[in-house]
Symmetry: C2
């Protein structure tokens, strides 16, 4: 029996990403589900309140490019179609919610450090994704 038909996995670009990605790949295989891969780049201009100096705009371009390259590499390794490799710019929770609704996703997979303390105060991405998600959310515990 299949639980999910379209799974979105959201990764950061750290060495921990494959832990999350591998589980999403297995889940998509178990459920014969389409797999979408995303990374959300946070806008570098946020701290400057609007006008972005040229060097920041270039930095943003570089971050976007690095994200696209990393997703392409993961896509190749895990067999994820180019159309399903999505780099977004914005607040991670909002972009992940928006994308999952737009594409009709029924499961979002994100990494979670499960830490308490400062992260509990600031709110982790997993926590942010959980609130307001219109579909199931799997938080993969990073080891």
């Amino acid at each position: 029996m299949s639980l999910y038909s379209k799974i979105l996995v959201a990764v950061d670009l750290t060495e921990e990403a494959p832990q999350v990605l591998r589980k999403a790949v297995t889940l998509s295989q178990q459920n014969n589900a389409e797999l979408l891969l995303t990374h959300v780049v946070e806008p570098v201009g946020y701290a400057y309140g609007g006008d972005i100096p040229m060097d920041l705009s270039e930095l943003q371009d570089q971050l976007d490019k690095a994200a696209r390259e990393q997703l392409a590499a993961y896509g190749k390794e895990y067999g994820i179609a180019e159309d399903n490799q999505i780099v977004a710019v914005g607040r991670p929770e909002s972009e992940i919610h928006h994308l999952s609704e737009e594409r009709g996703v029924d499961l979002i997979v994100v990494g979670s450090h499960g830490r308490r303390g400062i992260q509990l105060l600031l709110g982790s991405t997993a926590n942010g994704v959980l609130h307001g998600a219109k579909c199931d959310v799997l938080a993969v515990r990073i080891r």
Copy 2:
């Protein structure tokens, strides 16, 4: 490929519980995993700060008994062994964490209403379970 070997599903006793339970059952089948079922009864004496009058103690017993009966009914319906039907008393998050560590669980499944607003302020059980969990957590969106 199997992702999980021991899955704990935590349910409330509302009519929404089967939505969560059915997904946990399918996941346990897909992964050939053992399935544990729990309901955490919140202590009725919390509001009274210690000494529990006799009628409250009786109320607690009734809540425990109702929980045991409901879990037994679910256990029968979904083929969950009696040893894996666990009624705990305490704070849901703490009891779920404790139980999952004690029993070596690698996936916790809980329901989530995904609401914002007041529930974001108070913290939902799904949110509480996510923070501090030492394993993966699947939040099943209640419809």
